[in-house]
């Protein structure tokens, strides 16, 4: 663990050498994601709600989903860009170090510009909770946020790791990510009740993003869930993380170098 933080510290220091670029790119990412939410706000401003969910309630889901994805992109860029290690044959150099490859990958780099996305997610949450203050129990929704961020980060990371592991067989993973990461994360930003049955089934099982925000929000926002929803999400996140780590180890065993 100590090694983990030492490597992390070094990576952080190296990234902060370019402060101007960091500030500009953080601002740009935050802005881009804000435009996306503004479009949704424009719809709900005109039509009031989507299947009984108001803009503040959807905002609660949206804020958690986008902060979770940004946290994953911030902390694990080398997992996200893993195909580089396969295509350029760099993975060999990780295997000969005395540290597990996953630890090395997680400490190699931090994509600090994604902080903009985290800030944007939190800003949407602040606005949404402010809007919810008059109507529901906003305090439990606020207190639950740290748990939601952690389970959201873990589910996003596990999805990222499973996708990265596919690279051991397919080399390239960029095209998978649209299906395994971007689309599900986008889906997690809205209530699952709007989706057709087959899509709902996928989002609760194979790509379990429903547990990032929707499941606990059902109870917290008084949408018909029980208090059990609060512990189910972190539990699913834990199990899914365990599955992804097993799959990663399985993938490494089948790794063949490209020989470059």
């Amino acid at each position: 663990m100590k090694l983990f933080f030492t490597l992390w510290g070094a990576s952080l220091r190296s990234r902060m050498q370019y402060k101007g670029n960091f500030l500009f790119s953080s601002f740009t990412y935050g802005l881009i994601m804000a435009v996306d939410f503004l479009m949704l706000a424009a719809i709900l401003l005109r039509f009031d709600d989507v299947m009984g969910w108001t803009i503040y309630e959807v905002g609660y889901l949206y804020g958690i989903a986008s902060a979770s994805m940004s946290l994953y992109r911030l902390l694990a860029p080398e997992i996200h860009e893993f195909e580089r290690y396969m295509v350029e044959g760099e993975f060999d150099s990780l295997l000969i170090r005395p540290v597990p490859p996953l630890t090395l990958l997680l400490t190699r780099n931090l994509e600090l510009s994604r902080i903009g996305g985290v800030v944007q997610g939190i800003a949407i949450l602040v606005l949404s909770l402010h809007g919810l203050a008059a109507t529901t129990h906003w305090l439990p929704a606020l207190l639950y946020l740290p748990v939601a961020f952690i389970s959201g980060l873990i589910i996003s990371f596990a999805l990222g790791l499973i996708t990265a592991t596919l690279a051991f067989w397919t080399q390239r993973i960029k095209d998978f990510q649209a299906f395994t990461l971007y689309a599900p994360n986008n889906a997690a930003s809205y209530p699952m009740s709007i989706y057709p049955g087959w899509l709902k089934w996928i989002l609760f099982t194979v790509l379990p993003v429903a547990f990032i925000a929707y499941v606990p929000a059902l109870y917290l926002l008084d949408k018909g869930g029980t208090w059990h929803n609060l512990w189910v999400s972190p539990a699913v996140a834990g199990v899914f993380l365990w599955i992804s780590l097993r799959f990663w180890r399985f993938g490494i065993r089948y790794y063949h170098s490209t020989g470059s």
Partner: protein, 259 residues
């Protein structure tokens, strides 16, 4: 004809990655289903106050999702920034062809590939699952094709403008993100521009971004006639002239990095 050769060659290059692209199409379809679900959820029971019915919006999102691959998801800066960085641009500009047409022809190859292997398969799946709008008036098919062609012309110009600016700035990733965001937001990808609040909905229709997605989609849905193409054609013409002028400046300015 050299431009034709470039176009065909680039289709062949893209064809090498067809299986990866088919997998990516799944992601694109899921995005489409999410947007359709949002609109159906929003409009259920509220269709009276809206110029678009839930079925309209389903067709709007499905067609938009197919069109994206030809008008918004172009190569960042049409690949010019890489050639500025490795110096290849000096040789390309020295050739006795128009650099603008040379770059546009290569991108056109990719767009034709995307039409066959992304847009049409995506639209077919939507047609089989949520249904498809088929224009009732035969002339609408002509305008729909013209509108898509204008959208592509406009988008190539917007992306070329970002790309050629690399001769001065070297780095365009921020500018590319910005243009894609504007194309999504003010291009009417999630929200038809006439539904945007207040004056934003009005002036967004005067900007070039509208012609890239919103205009071709409403022409396809037969909610607007060919007159809606006037502003996009004007923008595309102005941008083409400006890009040709800028290419001339770039040729004179050209600084080669390590070439």
């Amino acid at each position: 004809m050299v431009y034709w050769e470039l176009l065909i060659k680039n289709i062949k290059v893209q064809f090498q990655y067809r299986i990866a692209h088919m997998i990516n199409n799944l992601g694109s379809l899921i995005f489409g289903f999410i947007y359709i679900a949002i609109w159906v959820g929003v409009l259920t029971g509220k269709e009276e106050g809206s110029p678009y019915s839930a079925t309209d919006m389903t067709h709007y999102m499905a067609y938009g999702q197919a069109l994206l691959w030809m008008t918004i998801f172009l190569t960042p800066g049409l690949g010019i920034p890489n050639r500025v960085r490795n110096g290849a641009i000096s040789l390309e500009m020295a050739r006795p062809v128009s650099y603008f047409t040379y770059t546009a022809a290569q991108e056109a190859g990719r767009i034709i590939y995307n039409l066959c292997f992304r847009s049409i398969p995506i639209l077919l799946i939507f047609a089989l699952t949520v249904g498809i709008h088929l224009p009732t008036n035969p002339i609408s098919y002509l305008w729909m094709t013209v509108a898509a062609a204008v959208a592509i012309w406009l988008s190539i110009n917007l992306h070329y403008l970002i790309g050629i600016s690399a001769c001065w700035t070297y780095e365009i990733s921020g500018a590319h993100f910005m243009i894609v965001t504007l194309l999504f937001g003010l291009g009417g990808q999630l929200v038809p521009l006439d539904l945007l609040p207040g004056n934003l909905g009005l002036w967004a229709q005067w900007l070039p971004f509208a012609g890239v997605l919103y205009t071709p989609v409403i022409i396809y849905l037969e909610k607007a006639g060919m007159e809606a193409l006037l502003i996009p054609v004007l923008w595309a013409s102005v941008l083409t002239l400006f890009n040709l002028w800028l290419t001339g400046r770039a040729r004179r300015k050209l600084e080669i990095q390590g070439g």
